[in-house]
Amino acid sequence: MIFLCTAMYNEAYPFIKQFNLRKDTSHQKFQVFKSEEITLIITGVGKLKGAIAVTYLLSNGTVNASDLLINIGVCGTNNTNIPLGTTFLCNKIIDHETQRAFYPDILFTHPFKEASVETFSTLVKDNNMDLEGDLVDMEASGIYQSSTLFLKAHQVFFIKIVSDYLYTDNISKDSISKSIEDQAIPILSWSHKVESGLLNNKKEFTEKEKEMLNQVVKNLKLSSTMEHQLKQLLKFYWLQYGTVEEILKQYMDIECQSKKEGKKHFEELRQKLI
């Protein structure tokens, strides 16, 4: 799943439109839009709102090793050499108030420029201000901290599109959507590439094998240490032969009357597995 979060509806609109996202009306506290592959939440402006919305979103179900969370939004900069509309992937997030810095892992190749972003609690309108970050926003530090409770540092991305040089008075809602519109498709097609690269091909015991294992643990009256050892032995066997069904089958009908009897069978099973 690709989780998108934007602070405002206008930032979300290009994605809602281009990817046909439908409003999920089961959510009352936040506006959530969905397709089969994308879930988008509108967080509201500010790092606290960002953190709350992302926590809400990610704690609503299980997250996987291939899931991504992308915070997309417009940002300001006092560097007038940067053309308006430039898209950046942030490699450093500085929380202006606490001066703590966070570093999303940039493991994947990407088509964007990179920059640092400084998150402020209030709107920055002074373009003479001394800034630590190349860019200025109001959500990134909150969203980083909440999202990494659920995801690893390489699964979270902060994509910021420069919309102003810190004179925010003349930014219209339309111009925000416009700034993002051209980037929606490139951002999403890159995200899909990353997501499929991360798709977990991890193999594990089948459900049937798991059930059989539980049954054998019961049948042999194994202690939790022995159960742990058995799991490790089965894993070793399974990695070599691809199945443990046949070997577990031999112990499905044995019902031990005592732990001593179970231990005897366990030892025998151990020998078979090494």
């Binding site: 490699n91 450093k92 810095a101 570093y103 892992d105 940039i106 493991l107 994947f108 190749t109 990179e114 640092s116 990494t148 995801l151 690893k152 540092a153 390489h154 590439k193 990353v194 690269g197 991360l198 991890k202 193999k203 594990e204 050892q229 490790q232 032995l233 894993k235 070793f236 990695l239 070599q240 151990r270 597995l273 090494i274």
Partner: protein, 336 residues
């Protein structure tokens, strides 16, 4: 799959994170000359990035980043129990780097660190200062390449060379530099030192191919070893860690035969032999990192917190490798 990985993952050291205080250190500048296209990111403390909890060691190995920092404490450590001390009472090790450019499946660093990024401490002169303080008290046997592979990174930072210059000034210091690299050429101009041992981990090619990802093949390591011996260096061979894989007898026997067909056995300083062993806690984390590793899922036995093959298997492997080695090298030179 490898090609897909190549296009998906940024190249190694695409990003260099530098502590603010390390920014102007001459070694930082020297290192940056090698990474002119890298993104430079200023950090406050290396632990802000290296010690984060939500990292994926395995994926980071596909695109490791470089972190340049100043080492401020624990400049030198007492040797750990699992390390062979070669009979030296003052056995220490030091980390001028953490992590390495190779990617061995059995590497204990993946159990020890939360990050696969490579840290270089640029203030090596302070580590030298600390060693000098200790040397005033007693002689030292110092391993400088335990949690890393210094020689593999020699072309970038030249720490092997710096340690050699340091060793030359301190006769009561003995240094072991351990490597899997084939990079002797980077230091071949240096006069051999009496108090420095170059130690090569030597493994059979099937093991290198399968479990020592990105490391040089046996033939290339042996060319380096031969170069060092011909130049007059003390060379230690480490048949360690021995791995209990299918046909291990055949692989290790052939490796030993091939090794001594390429290098003069009588010139070897000594040989250390040991089976794979690792702290129980590290093993737990290593297994988590590499859930599909047959090598790591082996049902090891744990004694005193160290996991390894059971006593019988350990002895069998050590005895065999010892006997095969003793066909070429006198027994006094073999440490088990």
């Amino acid at each position: 799959m490898k090609n897909l990985d190549k296009s998906l993952y940024s190249p190694s050291f695409s990003h260099v994170y530098i502590e603010k205080q390390a920014m102007n250190h001459p070694n930082t500048k020297k290192i940056l000359n090698h990474f002119s296209n890298a993104q430079i990111i200023e950090i406050n403390h290396y632990k802000d990035i290296f010690s984060r909890s939500h990292q994926h060691y395995g994926l980071q190995k596909k695109s490791p980043k470089l972190i340049l920092a100043l080492k401020k404490d624990h400049l030198i450590y007492k040797g750990a129990e699992v390390c062979e001390d070669f009979g030296h009472p003052y056995f220490y090790y030091t980390s001028t780097m953490m992590n390495c450019i190779y990617d061995c499946e059995y590497c204990y660093l993946q159990g020890m660190y939360t990050s696969a990024n490579v840290v270089v401490f640029v203030n090596i002169e302070e580590i030298f200062g600390e060693v000098e303080k200790l040397l005033k008290k007693h002689p030292i046997y110092l391993c400088i390449s335990y949690d890393t592979d210094i020689l593999a990174f020699e072309n970038v930072i030249g720490y092997g060379r710096e340690w050699m210059a340091f060793a030359q000034k301190h006769q009561n210091l003995t240094i072991e530099l351990r490597t899997k690299s084939a990079n002797f050429k980077a230091i071949q101009d240096i006069e051999p030192l009496e108090n420095m041992i170059l130690a090569w981990t030597v493994s059979p090619d099937p093991i290198i191919k399968k479990y020592e990802n990105k490391t040089p093949f046996l033939k290339d390591r042996l060319i380096s070893i031969k170069g060092a011996l011909d130049r007059g260096w003390k060379v230690r061979l480490c048949f360690d860690p021995l791995l209990s894989i299918e046909e291990w007898q055949k692989h290790y026997k052939e490796m030993i035969k091939y090794t001594f067909s390429q290098v003069a056995a009588e010139k070897i300083y000594d040989i250390s032999i040991g089976v794979f062993r690792v702290s129980k806690d590290y093993l737990k984390r290593m297994r988590k990192q590499r859930g599909e590793s047959l090598l790591l899922s082996y049902p090891f036995e744990t004694q005193n917190g160290i996991s390894s093959y059971d006593v019988q298997q350990t002895q069998k492997m050590i005895n065999h490798v010892y006997q095969w080695t003793a066909n070429y090298v006198s027994k006094e030179k073999i440490y088990i």
